[in-house]
């Protein structure tokens, strides 16, 4: 008790006042929603019960793990997991490798480095919606540029976004186009932290450019690569706007991702408990991936 009083005495109250606005907003609109979704995922709520209740009352009936069981029995949810993985298999390697390579190329002294850096970064500041509209038209079956170019080589291009195998890769390529510049900058920041003496030592030992990359640059970028791959994984689990705009989840549910399904469950079918259960499964997946990757890198780098 005395300790507590002592602590309260030591607390800087003006400091607390500075923290207060941020603390209120973050607890009400970030922390509380996380708790709310957790509690609601164990309940069966009809949309009507959501009306006119207090901020801290929980509507509906407590049903233990029923929502989670239902979610795992939902074939569309399982399909959406595979769709999300399909996206990741294309998006993550393309983005990671291109970003790392471009960063290495742009880390040299030569003319126009700043120009290239700026151009490659422009797609990142364009909104996902705008980018989706551009790519919808780029990959349009009979009016898009991609198929027009293919025509020049006498190949008749497919109707990309209406093909259940090709729609997801188009979305993945668009995301890669948008994000490569950003991750390239993160890699560049990492490259600039590698001491020059390492390269000089390698040169003296007779290492060629490729060996210098493979034995000096790449290992030194280990931590950054971890951060980048976690961020890419999180990107993968968050694909929503591009699906909403470009395909609406189709054709034949082939682009229905987990977030798109959560949106549909919550805001089209008003299945609140089920949407919350899916949200939490997604959340747990993100945490597990982050922790696993952190552990593997800590092991490697000590």
């Amino acid at each position: 008790m005395n300790q507590l009083i002592q602590k309260l005495k030591n607390n800087d109250w003006t400091g607390t006042a500075f923290l207060l606005p941020a603390a209120i907003i973050l607890s009400l609109f970030v922390v509380y929603p996380i708790i709310w979704a957790f509690l609601v995922s164990f309940r069966d709520i009809r949309p009507m019960e959501m009306r006119g209740i207090g901020l801290f009352t929980m509507p509906g009936e407590f049903v233990w793990l029923q929502q989670y069981i239902d979610v795992f029995n939902n074939s569309l949810f399982i399909k959406s997991l595979f769709n999300t993985a399909y996206f990741g298999i294309i998006y993550i390697p393309i983005t990671l490798i291109s970003a790392a390579l471009l960063a290495v190329l742009l880390n040299q002294k030569m003319n126009g480095v700043n120009f290239f850096r700026t151009v490659l970064f422009i797609p990142y500041i364009i909104s996902v919606v705008s980018a989706s509209l551009i790519f919808m038209f780029l990959f349009n079956g009979d009016r898009g540029m991609i198929n027009a170019v293919l025509m020049q080589f006498n190949i008749s291009g497919p109707n990309w976004l209406a093909d259940s195998l090709l729609a997801m890769p188009v979305i993945a390529i668009m995301s890669a186009w948008k994000k490569i510049g950003y991750f390239m900058l993160i890699y560049l920041a990492g490259l600039q932290n590698i001491p020059n003496s390492l390269y000089e030592a390698a040169k003296i030992d007779g290492a060629n450019a490729f060996q210098r990359f493979w034995f000096v640059t790449w290992p030194m970028l280990g931590r950054i690569t971890l951060v980048v791959s976690v961020l890419l994984m999180i990107d993968t689990l968050n694909v929503f706007q591009e699906v909403f705009v470009m395909t609406g989840g189709g054709p034949a549910d082939s682009t229905t991702t987990v977030p798109f399904l959560i949106y549909n469950e919550g805001f089209q079918y008003f299945r609140i408990g089920s949407a919350s259960a899916m949200s939490y499964i997604l959340f747990v997946v993100v945490i597990v991936i982050t922790l696993l990757q952190k552990r593997s890198v800590d092991k490697k780098l000590g």
């Binding site: 607390n11 800087d12 003006t14 400091g15 500075f18 923290l19 606005p21 941020a22 907003i25 973050l26 609109f29 970030v30 922390v31 996380i34 709310w36 979704a37 959501m50 207090g54 901020l55 190329l105 742009l106 030569m110 290239f116 850096r117 490659l120 970064f121 422009i122 797609p123 500041i125 364009i126 909104s127 996902v128 919606v129 705008s130 980018a131 509209l133 551009i134 790519f135 038209f137 780029l138 009979d142 009016r143 898009g144 540029m145 198929n147 027009a148 900058l185 920041a189 990492g190 600039q192 999180i234 929503f240 706007q241 909403f244 705009v245 977030p259 959560i262 949106y263 919550g266 805001f267």
Partner: protein, 273 residues
């Protein structure tokens, strides 16, 4: 030998630039084609005639003036709130003794991994219960501070020596004056960077407006674009893309003007984070 390698590199990088800019080229070219040219197969690579009136047409058709000012209002107000509250919180967390500071920091880091879609429903419920549904306020106050912003400012404050604050206090500066006249001028570069990053984020925001807005007079630009793209077939593609171009141009101009701070901010955030 070295020179030849350099030329090869230049060619490679130029090719990458062209590939990266092609979608934007296609956006521009398509947005100025006439209604008949845009539907032609195969498409033309350069417009036969430039129909600049596409921009004026879509502007009045979608009541874009209203949408535009909504977007500007929301993005500016949210950015101002984020910058003020994040700077204050960053200062408190960096320089002040506060009970449970470490726990606060851990909780904040943990919230960064939460997928945004997981928060859609609870945010919808909370914001509706607070009576903000279908107002522009619903996009401003709840998002008036970001965890990223708080951490970004805290990192900058950590580099400010404590002696500076101590000296100001001995000179008789009040707490509030220390913040305004000592701290804020020192973190100005960070503030600029945060302004750009948060403005662009809010300008591009789509999911929250989609969930929280209902009447068309409240729509923001990305919402309007997303909705016409996924629902309407009556508007010709050239005009949809013209509207898109109008949305994209402000952020690109902003970026080109302030790119140095933007790129510096992202790279610094990457190294420290």
């Amino acid at each position: 030998m070295d020179k030849r390698k350099n030329t090869g590199l230049q060619v490679l990088l130029w090719t990458m630039c062209v590939i990266f800019l092609l979608p934007l080229y296609w956006l521009f070219v398509s947005s100025v084609k006439s209604d008949s040219e845009i539907t032609r197969f195969p498409p033309t690579f350069w417009p036969e005639e430039f129909v600049w009136s596409n921009f004026a047409d879509i502007w009045s058709r979608l009541n874009f003036g209203q949408t535009f000012s909504n977007s500007i209002f929301v993005s500016l107000s949210t950015t101002v709130l984020i910058v003020i509250f994040s700077t204050m919180a960053g200062y408190a967390l960096s320089k002040k003794k506060i009970i449970g500071k470490n726990m606060i920091l851990v909780v904040l880091v943990a919230t960064m991994t939460v997928p945004p879609t997981a928060l859609l429903l609870p945010l919808y419920f909370i914001i509706t219960t607070l009576g903000m549904y279908d107002t522009l306020t619903s996009l401003i106050i709840p998002f008036g501070v970001t965890v990223f912003g708080v951490f970004f400012m805290k990192q900058y404050m950590d580099d400010i020596p404590d002696e500076l604050i101590e000296a100001a206090r001995i000179d008789g500066c009040g707490e509030f004056r220390i913040f305004l006249q000592v701290i804020v001028p020192l973190v100005k570069p960070a503030v600029t960077t945060l302004v750009i990053i948060e403005f662009v984020n809010n300008w591009n925001s789509f999911t929250m407006p989609l969930v929280l807005l209902q009447s068309e007079s409240n729509y923001t630009l990305p919402l309007q674009l997303g909705i016409i793209a996924s629902e309407s077939v009556a508007i010709p593609w050239s005009q949809i893309l013209a509207a898109n171009l109008l949305t994209v141009v402000p952020v690109i101009v902003l970026f080109l003007v302030l790119q140095r701070q933007f790129i510096k901010g992202i790279m610094e955030g990457a190294v420290k984070g």
